[in-house]
């Protein structure tokens, strides 16, 4: 008997959070562990719904009819933050960001790349930079 199946194109999927975030019945599950992102897909989906396919930025998901298939997993290595080392982004996501954001905006005013830093470190770097002058003057007040 034919069932409604999830077909995911492994080559185009970038491993973002869209499909798992929009699935109204939580059939698609995403987890980040030990530097790897794991997305668990159901083999079949009987819901009258196209949310995941519509949400996918790469149009990597199709809902097709076919023979029953088992659940499957896609895994993505996470890129470590260049400052703190915490893995935070898939190579696919990074690639997409690199293509979407104009080159001149990918580095800061000092020519350093921010795109390879995790959001937390971006905040820290911004803070450190902003605090620099004040840090110097405040160190001088202690007597």
């Amino acid at each position: 008997m034919k069932k409604r199946l999830l077909a995911v194109d492994e080559k185009t999927c970038i491993g973002c959070r869209a499909c798992s975030a929009v699935c109204p019945v939580d059939l698609i599950r995403l987890s980040d562990e030990d530097g790897v992102r794991r997305i668990d897909f159901p083999g079949i989906c009987d819901e009258d719904c196209q949310e995941c396919a519509r949400a996918c930025p790469e149009e990597a998901i199709d809902l097709v009819f076919g023979e029953v298939q088992p659940e499957f997993v896609l895994s993505f290595d996470l890129v470590p933050c260049q400052r703190c080392g915490a893995p935070f982004v898939t190579y696919g996501e990074m690639d997409r960001l690199g293509k979407t954001i104009p080159q001149e905006l990918q580095t800061d005013a000092f020519g350093a790349s921010w795109i390879t830093l995790c959001p937390r470190c971006r905040r820290s770097v911004e803070r450190e930079r902003a605090a620099k002058t004040l840090l110097v003057s405040r160190r001088g007040t202690r007597v």
């Binding site: 405040r138 007040t141 202690r142 007597v143």
Partner: protein
Amino acid sequence: MANESLVPTICPYCGVGCGFYVALEDGQEPRIEYMPDHPVNEGALCPKGNAALEVLGHPERLRHPLKKTEDGWAEISWEEALDLVSEKLKEALEAHGPHTIGFLGSAKVTNEENYIFQKMARLLGISNVDNCARLCHSPTIYGLERAFGLVGVTNPFPDLANSRCILVIGSNLAENHPIVARWILKAKDRGATVIVVDPRLTPTAWLADQHLQIDPGTDVALLNGMMRVILKEGLADTEFVTRQTVGFEDLVGSLEEYTPEKVAEIAGVSAAGIVKAARSYARSPASSIVYSMGITQHAVGTDNVTACANLALICGQVGRPGAGLYPLRGQNNVQGACDMGMLPDFYPGGRRIDDPGVVEDVEEAWGASHLPTAPGLTAVEMTEAAYDGDLRILYVVGEDPINSGPNTDRAREALERLEFMVVQDIFMTETAQMADLVLPAALWAEKEGTFTSTERRVQRIRRAADPPGDAREDLWIFSQVAERLGLGFHYAGPDDVLTEINRVLPSYGGVTRERLASPGGLIWPCPDPGHPGTPILHTEGFSTPDGRGRIVPVEYKPPAEVTDQEYPLVLTTGRVVLHYNAGSMTRRSPSLAGRVPELFVEINPHDAKKLEIEEGDPVAVTTARGRILARADLTERVGPGVVFLPFHFPDTNRLTTDVLDPVAKIPEFKVAACRIGRG
């Protein structure tokens, strides 16, 4: 917005007295709306103010009177609860006398409620009445009473902006009274110099042009050192000293040995820094001193306050715009509780209990006779008396002495020895858990009345919500107990009580309900209904009998507990911006507790390295009184040799010493010797 009503109120946290509105909208949770036309906070609120409504409908609020039984807490009726309180009081009065009973009032409840509570005590002959001012600013009460003849901040906060030099000593106001930082920054905008004296590099110290990072407990040495510089360099205001003060000659002689070099050695700061600070303060046309518990919470707290007053007096930096002394008080109504006579040695209006004329006045006002004529026990002394079996009954309102007092383990033992303890509060505090009877009270937004902020500013609070369950206003509870004791209280409500306060307290004579309608209220002394209030004190001389300020020399004494081989580090305690005092409200406030969820201890990275402690490690902090666990926070906020614990979590005061200031009876919370090890 549609169907929205805005109920003006005053923040229930610190003593700054910020105004805001409780916005009520049909079917919505009450929320805060800012009050830009309030003269002190101009709409701004600190994080605690923003979170003030989080305790309102809190699931842990006390909802019914609870009696302790063998099977745990039993809900009982108000009738039964009130009968029990009055019977216990009657029994003890008849069998053992009023000196075996203690009443702890609250700097959190209204003026009207404190007034009634102390009146009830005194009509019963009980003079053991006190409030938490004992633990924060009692040295201010005795120090400023002696120096200026009147206890209170001398100038309003907005007037800080007129200062050209602000000396902040022992106050981390940026965290504990953030709105005061606003006015200090406005002064800086106009070119003022800011000097911060603190053993810690606090956010307040960030605002300083000069940060004197003294060793804990060396304030008198520093202040004496500054005064010596001022005298030697001829910077004293001799005209003011001659005209307005007494005691100057004694001071001159007492300062000789406090040379900058010697003070530098005692306090751990540079001699040049002392000289510079002294010159800045004395030379500026209008200087102010802002201090808080870093001055008061010492065995020499009264000396510290006196030294601050001396400095202001010899430089004539008081009694003018921009020139004042600001003891920043911690509780929303601690000034009011003290004004109302919730102190063992003062009747309402700051009038001494051992002055026969005062007793006569109060007896006439109350239509009473045989009122107490001698001071009773202070808060910490009550705990001591309970330990010795001399105090049998304790009535605690809105305080948590187990968490807020020193040496917790001994305090717990003392309260266990009481025959009967009744606690009236909004949450089941650690102290309430030890009570025989717990009475559920309404909180500030659920009742009407007045608070007096640290500026002496009397402001109205208004009812914006109903108390949960059977919880009742403190005033109703007191009136019910008083009625059962045959005291004949017939107050229809807080307005009736305020009318009596207008009549009994000279400085509150003109502080009537009608006049408190607009934002900002009135600043006492305000003796009659036509009086505009007195924002700046001592403009025409001091409130002492001869109108002159008292200069009283004080000598530096080292802290009661010094470090040794066993306890090599100095432990100091204090507050953080996201929590409040014993924490019974802020630890239940998700937006505050979520940001600082647990006890931590600040350790200088230099010390931590020697102790092989890393950031976030659980460590044990041990003093002669006990051992507790805390998470290590490695930070340069404390210098080497000093560690800091916030006191908002139950364990901190298990470590603090109960050595008291001999005059003010405040414990030395700010200095103890400790050691740190792996947890």
